[in-house]
C-alpha cells in the first residue's frame, strides 16, 4: 500500500491512499461528486465538467476526476458556484436529449436522469434540438442510438483500453459523434461484441439489442455468478425476470481490470432455451434414440456400468462444478470401482501444473506470457487478453511475450522473445540472474550453459524493474516458467477450461486411463459428461452422454441424460488464479433436467450405493492440497499442445449453435472472406 494522506471533504475528515483522485476520496468520505465521464480505474478526462469542485486556496474550480488528493487539502464539492456550473452543464446536455424517460429502457439506471432529478431540471431552459441520427440495429447484440449520446467517451475509452479500439469520435462542434471507422456497422468494424461499451454507457445510447420492452433494471433479480465457457472464468451478474435471463454483465468490481466479459459470456444465454436443449432422458431402442423416463434411463445406465465390471470409463469436461467433480469421483472410484476417470484437462495440461500458484492481476506491473496466447478476436481466453491490455494501456503495466509464433497480443508488448519457449524462458532467467538477481542454486547451475541474447537481456530489465511480475504460462510450460517465480513473485498456469484447477483439486485425477486413452481404446462402457471435444462415438459397448444440449456425440449415445446448464445449478469452481468462485443458480433447473451431481448420486442409488452430495466442507478439504513451488528442470510437458481457438469452440459448440452467437460467427466469416 502506498502512503496515506489526510484531507477534508465537505467538512468530513478522510484518510485515503495517496494517488487517489478526488472523486474516489469523496466517495470514501461518503460524498458523491456528480460525474458522467469518469470511470473508476481509468484516467479522468474532464469531458463532462460535472465533477468540478473547489479546493481551498485555488482560484478556479478543478475537476475532481483528474485531481489527485494532497495532504491537508480542503475540498468543497457543493458550493453555489459549482452547483450552478453543474446545473448549467446538465441544462445544456438536456437541450440535446430525447427526454423520453417514460419509455426508455435505461430509466432507473440512467445517470443523466438521476442528475436531472437531483438538480430539479424538468426541461432544458434552452431550445431543445434533435440530432436526427439513425440507430445502428444491424446486429443482434448491441443497439447504438446516438440520439441519446452525451459524448462522455466512456465507450470509446473502454474499447480502446482493452485493445479492440472500434470506436472513435468524429466531427466537430455539436456534430461531434461516436463512430466506428468510416461509420460502418459494428460487425464490419472489428467489433468483437464483448459489450464492454454497453456496460460503460451511462445513458441509453448503447443497449443490449434484445432489452427494449423486457423490463427495467429495477424489475430484475440480480445474482452474481461465473461464466463457465472458458478458462478465464469471468465473474458475471445475471439479471433475470420471471425466471428468464434477460441480461448478463460483468460482475467484477468497478475499476478492476477484470471488468470485461466476452460475447459468449454476455450474449450466449439465449442458448438456454435453444432447440437443442435436452429436457428428457433418451435411450436407444432398436437403433433409435427415444425419449424415456429418468427411472428407466438411470436403471439402464446402472445396469451397464455394473456389467462393465470395473472396466467402465468416465470422461468429463472441466467446466463442471467442484461439487459435480467430487460426486463424479465418488461414483467412479467407490461405486463403479474403476480407475478410469478423467477430465479434458489432460488434453492440454498435466495435473501438477494446475495445483499451485495464485496472482493478483490488478496489482501486477509486469505480465510475462509464456506460451499463453490470449486473443479476444479468436475468443481464446478473451478476458485475459483484455485485462492485460487494459493494465498496459491504463495502469502502466508492462508486457513481455514469450512465444514461438506471432500471437496478436504481442502488439501490446514492451518486449517479445520469439523462439522455442523453453529456450526463451531459460535465456530470460539467465539474463535476470546475470544482472545480479538472486536465484536458487539448482537453477543457477541448471542455467550455467545458457548464453542470453540481447533481446533476453533487454527483456530481463523489465523483469528486474518490476515489483510484482506475474508469469502466465501455458500449462505445458508451467513448471519451467514457474521457476521465474522462485526469483520473484507469482506464476500461474492458464488452462482453457473454467474449472480445470477445481476438477484436479477435487481428485478427478485418473489412476488408470487418461482422457485420450479412454477415447481411443475399446471399453465396455463410457460415460461422457458435458460437452467434450469429441464428435465420433468411440469404440465402446455402451455410451452415456450427460449434457444440457444435444451434441453430435450425444446423437450416437445409448443413453442421453439431460443435465442442467450453467446458471441452473449452485456450486463452486477454482479459477486459474486459484480463487474459489461461487457459481450461483440464477433461474433454477430447466424442467426435466438435473444437476450433474444429482445425476451421479442417482446413478449410484440405482446401483444400490449412496453417494453423498459434495458439501462445502468436502470442497474446502480438497482445496487444501497445495503444492509448494520448487525448482523444476526447464522442460516442456509433452503432447499437450492444442489449438486454443478450436478447443474452446468445440466445448461451447452447442451453446454457440443454439444462440445468436452463430450470427456472429457467420458475420466474421463474411468479413474474412
Amino acid at each position: 500500500m502506498g502512503k496515506m494522506v489526510n484531507l477534508k471533504i465537505d467538512g468530513k475528515d478522510v484518510r485515503v491512499d495517496e494517488g487517489l483522485n478526488l472523486i474516489e476520496a469523496a466517495a470514501a468520505a461518503g460524498v458523491h461528486v456528480p460525474n458522467l465521464c469518469y470511470m473508476k480505474g481509468m484516467k479522468g478526462v474532464g469531458a463532462c465538467r460535472l465533477c468540478l469542485v473547489e479546493v481551498e486556496g485555488g482560484k478556479a474550480p478543478v475537476i475532481a476526476c483528474n485531481t489527485k488528493v494532497k495532504d491537508g487539502m480542503v475540498v468543497a464539492t457543493k458550493t453555489d458556484r459549482v452547483q450552478e456550473v453543474r446545473k448549467f452543464v446538465l441544462d445544456l446536455i438536456l437541450s440535446m436529449h430525447p427526454l423520453d424517460c417514460m419509455t426508455c429502457t435505461k430509466a432507473g439506471v440512467c445517470t443523466l436522469q438521476q442528475y436531472a432529478y437531483d438538480f430539479d431540471i424538468k426541461e432544458s431552459s434552452f431550445t431543445r434540438k434533435k440530432f436526427g441520427y439513425p440507430t445502428d440495429q444491424a446486429n443482434p447484440f448491441i443497439k447504438r442510438d446516438p440520439e441519446y449520446c452525451v459524448l462522455c467517451s466512456r465507450c470509446v475509452r473502454v474499447c480502446k483500453a482493452q485493445g479492440t479500439n472500434v470506436l472513435e469520435f468524429s466531427g466537430r462542434g455539436v456534430g461531434a459523434k461516436v463512430v466506428t471507422a468510416q461509420d460502418r456497422p459494428l460487425q464490419e468494424s472489428g467489433c468483437t461484441f464483448c459489450g464492454s461499451c454497453v456496460d460503460a454507457c451511462p445513458v441509453n445510447a448503447l443497449l443490449e439489442a434484445d432489452r427494449s420492452r423486457k423490463g427495467r433494471e429495477w424489475e430484475y433479480e440480480k445474482v452474481d455468478s461465473v461464466c463457465l465457457s472458458c478458462g478465464s472464468a469471468c465473474g458475471i451478474t445475471v439479471s433475470s425476470k420471471d425466471g428468464e435471463v434477460v441480461k448478463i454483465s460483468s460482475a467484477a468490481s468497478e475499476g478492476a481490470a477484470e471488468k470485461y466479459i466476452c460475447a459468449i459470456g454476455r450474449f450466449g444465454f439465449d442458448s438456454l432455451n435453444s432447440e437443442a436443449r435436452l429436457r428428457t432422458p433418451m435411450k436407444r431402442v432398436n437403433g433409435e434414440l427415444r425419449d424415456t423416463s429418468w427411472e428407466d434411463a438411470l436403471a439402464t445406465v446402472a445396469e451397464k456400468l455394473k456389467a462393465a465390471d470395473g472396466e467402465a470409463g468416465f470422461v468429463s469436461t472441466a467446466n463442471i462444478l467442484n461439487e459435480d467433480a467430487l460426486a463424479l469421483k465418488k461414483l467412479a472410484a467407490d461405486v463403479v470401482k474403476t480407475k478410469n476417470y478423467d477430465s479434458s484437462v489432460t488434453l492440454y495440461a498435466d495435473y501438477d501444473s494446475l495445483k499451485g500458484g495464485s496472482a493478483d492481476l490488478d496489482k501486477a506491473d509486469l505480465f510475462v506470457l509464456a506460451g499463453t496466447a490470449p486473443d479476444q478476436w479468436a475468443r481464446v481466453l478473451p478476458a485475459l487478453d483484455a485485462v492485460i491490455r487494459k493494465r498496459v494501456s491504463e495502469g502502466g503495466a508492462k508486457l513481455l511475450v514469450i512465444n514461438s509464433g506471432d500471437p496478436k497480443i504481442a502488439s501490446a508488448a514492451s518486449a517479445v522473445l520469439k523462439g522455442e519457449e523453453i529456450a526463451m524462458i531459460e535465456q530470460l532467467a539467465q539474463a535476470v540472474i546475470s544482472k545480479g538477481v538472486k536465484a536458487p542454486k539448482e537453477m543457477v547451475s541448471a542455467l550455467a550453459h545458457v548464453d542470453p541474447s540481447d533481446a533476453a537481456m533487454a527483456a530481463a530489465d523489465l523483469f528486474v524493474a518490476a515489483k510484482s511480475p506475474v508469469v502466465l504460462a501455458a500449462p505445458s510450460l508451467y513448471k519451467a516458467a514457474a521457476n521465474l517465480s522462485l526469483i520473484k513473485e507469482e506464476a500461474v498456469s492458464v488452462p482453457f477450461e473454467a474449472n480445470a484447477r477445481g476438477v484436479v483439486l477435487m481428485g478427478l485425477v485418473s489412476e488408470g486411463k487418461k482422457f485420450k486413452e479412454m477415447l481411443s481404446s475399446r471399453s465396455k462402457a463410457l460415460y461422457v459428461i458435458g460437452e467434450v471435444p469429441v464428435d465420433k462415438r468411440p469404440d465402446t459397448d455402451f455410451l452415456v452422454v450427460q449434457n444440457s444440449h444435444m451434441t453430435d456425440l450425444a446423437t450416437q449415445a445409448d443413453v442421453v441424460l439431460p443435465s442442467t446448464a450453467a446458471l441452473e445449478s449452485d456450486g463452486t469452481i477454482v479459477d486459474y488464479l486459484g480463487r474459489v468462485k461461487e457459481v450461483r443458480c440464477t433461474i433454477g433447473a430447466a424442467s426435466g433436467t438435473k444437476s450433474h451431481a444429482d445425476i451421479f448420486a442417482e446413478v449410484a442409488g440405482a446401483m444400490g450405493s449412496a453417494v453423498k452430495k459434495g458439501k462445502e466442507a468436502d470442497v474446502k478439504k480438497a482445496l487444501k492440497a497445495k503444492t509448494k513451488a520448487a525448482f523444476s528442470p526447464f522442460k516442456r510437458e509433452k503432447d499437450l499442445d492444442v489449438d486454443g481457438e478450436r478447443f474452446i469452440e468445440a466445448i461451447n459448440k452447442s451453446t454457440i449453435n443454439g444462440s445468436r452467437l452463430l450470427w456472429l460467427k457467420e458475420s466474421e466469416k463474411g468479413v474474412l472472406a
Binding site: 478556479a60 483528474n66 452543464v89 437541450s95 434552452f126 459524448l151 467517451s153 469520435f169 466537430r172 455539436v174
Partner: protein, 592 residues
C-alpha cells in the same frame, strides 16, 4: 545624363500581384527609349518573401537620386511616362503620386526583431542566414554556456509566449528543465489557426532558420534531444522552406549528433496538421502528434511535466522561438528595453480590415492602439469612421474607437476585455455590425470545437442560435441576459482554452456595444446595415425614374410599377436580398 539614378520596383508577392512586372517593364522601356542611363532594380524580389513593408500600396516604386530617396505608391504602367519625364528628367517629383506622410511613420513606429531578417536573408539558402550572423548564437550557447545561463537570459529578457496565452518563456523552460525525465521534447507550434492570422507563416517562409535556432537553444536549455514542428498542411510554401532549412541545417551539422562538436545532439521532425483550429491548443497538438484525434487533455499535468508521450515537453509558438536567437545575440537587456514593465519586446500583428495599410507589422509592446491605427495603419480606408479594433481573433474582443489611447500589451488589453492573442488585429468601421461580428466568431468556434466537453460543444451552439436569431429579427426580450449567462457558463466550465475564451467576442461586444444588440432585438434594426433580414427596402419615389431595373432584378416579384412611373416594393413579398438596391442606377432604393 549620368547621376546614378536607381529605380526600385517592388516585386514581392504583393508587388507582383499588383502588376509590378508591367511597371518594371514600363520603366525599362521608357528609360531605354529616352536613352537614360538609370538602373532599374527589383525590390523585395528575393525569394518570394515580402519585405513586409507597405505592400498594401503596391506597386511601390522608389527612386534614388544622388543619395536621396523618393517613393511613389499605387504605380501603374501608364504612370511611368510622367514619372520619368518630370522626376528623372525634370528633377521634380510628381507630387500627387508620392507616398503620404504615414509612409514614414509606418517604418518609424515599428521595431523589427523577428521580422528584421525576413526579406533580407534568403530563406532557401543557409549561407545567406549564416552571413547575417545566423547560427552564431547557437554556437556560442552550445560551446560556452550552461543551460541555466540560457534560461536566465530568456527569463531576464521578459519574453512571453506569442502563441496567445503569454506565459513567460523563461519560466516554462525552467519548469521543463527541472521536470524529471531522461527524455524531453521541444515542440514548435506552427498550427496558426486563428482566422486572418499569418504571422507564423511569414516567419517560417521568410526566415525558417531563426525558428530552428530557437528550438536548438530551447532544447539545449531544457535537455531535449528531439523536437517537432507541428505545422498546418495548408502552408505548402512554409512547409517546403522549413523542410529545406532543416535539410541544410543537417548538412552543416547544426542538427543531428555532436552539434558544434559538443555532446549535444538534436533532431527535428515535421508533423503536418490537418487544419483543425483546436490542434493549435498544446495538449490537442500533443495528442495529434501521438497519433490520436486532436482533442485537448485536461491540465494538469502540464506539458512541461508530462507532455508528448508523457515526457516533459516545452511547446512554444513560432514567433516566440524566432525571437530567441536575437535575444541571445544582443542580450536580454537590449530585448527588455522594448515594451512595458510586464510585456517586453515586440509583437507581430496581422493588420487587416478597414485599414489602409494592411499587412504584417511588428511593434514594441506598449505602443498605443492609436499609433498602430493612424501612424502605421495609415488610418481608415475610405471616408468612414473607425468603430473598433478586434484583437485576439475568436478568443479576443473589440476595443472601441474611443479607447485608442490604450497601450497594446498583455495587461492593458486584458483589462479592456480583449487579449493580445496570437496577433490578429481587425479594424472595423461603421459598416461593421457588432452582433454579426460576435456571431461570426461563435460560428467559427462552434465549428472548430472538438466536441469533447459539454459547455463548449453545446454551449457555443446555443450561443450561436441566439445570436443568429437576433441577426434575423427574431431576437427576444431577455436574449442579452441569456447570452451573458451562457457566456459565463461556457467560460468557467470548458475544458480547454478554446471553450474558455470562445464567449469573449460576445462579452466584449456586449460590454461596449450593448445598445447595438438592443436595437437589433427591440427595433429589429441593424445600424450598420449588415444583417440582411433586418433591412427594409423601399423606393424613393421622388428619385425613381421608373426604369424597371429593380423589378427585373427582384427574384421574389415584390416590385411593381408602370414604366417611367415610380415603382413600389411590397414589403410582404420582399425577401431582403438587396438585388434591387444593387440594380438601381439612380440610388433610388433606400435601405434601412
Amino acid at each position: 545624363m549620368k547621376d546614378n539614378t536607381v529605380v526600385r520596383v517592388c516585386m514581392g508577392p504583393a508587388g507582383i500581384a499588383a502588376g509590378g512586372k508591367a511597371v518594371l517593364e514600363a520603366f525599362r522601356e521608357t528609360l531605354a527609349d529616352r536613352n537614360i542611363d538609370a538602373e532599374v532594380k527589383e525590390h523585395c524580389s528575393s525569394h518570394q518573401v515580402g519585405c513586409l513593408g507597405l505592400c498594401a500600396r503596391d506597386v511601390l516604386v522608389e527612386i534614388g537620386r544622388n543619395g536621396s530617396k523618393t517613393s511613389y505608391q499605387y504605380v501603374k504602367p501608364d504612370m511611368v511616362g510622367r514619372i520619368v519625364a518630370e522626376h528623372i528628367v525634370g528633377g521634380t517629383p510628381v507630387k500627387e503620386w508620392l507616398v503620404d506622410e504615414t509612409f514614414d511613420t509606418f517604418y518609424r513606429k515599428q521595431v523589427k526583431i523577428v521580422l528584421a531578417d525576413c526579406g533580407r536573408v534568403d530563406p532557401e539558402d543557409i549561407d545567406s542566414y549564416i552571413a547575417a550572423g545566423g547560427y552564431e548564437p547557437t554556437r556560442e550557447v552550445l560551446m560556452t554556456w550552461i543551460p541555466d545561463d540560457v534560461i536566465e537570459e530568456i527569463r531576464m529578457s521578459g519574453i512571453r509566449g506569442r502563441g496567445g496565452a503569454g506565459f513567460p518563456t523563461g519560466l516554462k523552460w525552467e519548469l521543463a528543465r527541472r521536470s524529471k525525465g531522461d527524455v524531453k521534447y521541444v515542440i514548435c507550434n506552427a498550427d496558426e489557426g486563428d482566422p486572418g492570422a499569418f504571422m507564423d507563416r511569414a516567419v517560417i517562409e521568410g526566415n525558417p532558420h531563426s525558428v530552428i535556432e530557437g528550438m536548438l537553444i530551447g532544447a539545449f536549455a531544457i535537455g531535449a534531444n528531439k523536437g517537432y514542428v507541428y505545422i498546418r498542411a495548408e502552408y505548402p510554401l512554409a512547409v517546403e522552406r522549413l523542410k529545406l532549412a532543416i535539410k541544410q541545417a543537417y548538412e552543416r551539422r547544426f542538427l543531428g549528433r555532436a552539434i558544434f562538436n559538443t555532446q549535444f545532439s538534436f533532431d527535428i521532425e515535421i508533423r503536418l496538421g490537418a487544419g483543425a483550429f483546436v490542434c493549435g491548443e498544446e495538449t490537442a497538438l500533443i495528442a495529434s502528434i501521438e497519433g490520436e484525434r486532436g482533442m485537448p487533455r485536461s491540465k494538469p499535468p502540464f506539458p512541461v511535466n508530462r507532455g508528448l508521450w508523457q515526457r516533459p515537453t516545452v511547446i512554444n509558438n513560432v514567433e516566440t522561438l524566432a525571437n530567441v536567437p536575437y535575444i541571445i545575440r544582443k542580450g536580454w537587456a537590449w530585448y527588455a528595453s522594448y515594451g512595458t514593465e510586464k510585456s517586453k519586446g515586440t509583437k507581430v500583428f496581422a493588420l487587416t480590415g478597414k485599414i489602409r495599410n494592411q499587412g504584417l507589422i511588428e511593434v514594441p509592446m506598449g505602443i498605443t492602439l492609436g499609433e498602430i491605427i493612424h501612424e502605421i495603419g495609415g488610418g481608415i480606408e475610405g471616408n468612414r469612421a473607425l468603430k473598433a479594433v478586434q484583437t485576439g481573433g475568436p478568443s479576443g474582443g473589440c476595443i472601441p474607437a474611443g479607447m485608442l489611447d490604450l497601450n497594446v500589451d498583455y495587461e492593458s488589453l486584458a483589462k479592456a476585455g480583449s487579449i493580445v492573442g496570437s496577433g490578429g488585429m481587425i479594424v472595423l468601421d461603421e459598416d461593421n455590425c457588432m452582433v454579426n461580428m460576435a456571431k461570426y466568431f461563435i460560428q467559427f468556434t462552434q465549428a472548430e470545437s472538438c466536441g469533447k466537453c459539454v459547455p463548449c460543444r453545446v454551449g457555443t451552439k446555443r450561443l450561436l442560435e441566439i445570436l443568429t436569431r437576433i441577426t434575423e429579427g427574431q431576437g427576444k426580450e431577455g436574449d442579452i441576459e441569456r447570452l451573458e449567462r451562457l457566456s459565463r457558463g461556457v467560460k468557467t466550465a470548458s475544458l480547454c482554452g478554446l471553450g474558455q475564451t470562445a464567449p469573449n467576442p460576445v462579452l466584449s461586444n456586449l460590454r461596449y456595444f450593448r445598445e447595438e444588440f438592443e436595437t437589433h432585438i427591440r427595433d429589429k434594426k441593424c445600424p450598420a446595415k449588415v444583417c440582411k433580414k433586418l433591412l427594409r427596402y423601399s423606393i424613393l419615389e421622388e428619385y425613381c425614374k421608373g426604369c424597371g431595373a429593380c423589378m427585373k432584378a427582384c427574384p421574389a416579384d415584390a416590385i411593381s410599377g408602370d414604366k417611367k412611373k415610380p415603382h413600389r416594393i411590397n414589403p410582404d413579398r420582399c425577401i431582403r436580398c438587396g438585388a434591387c438596391f444593387e440594380a438601381c442606377k439612380f440610388k433610388s432604393v433606400a435601405r434601412d
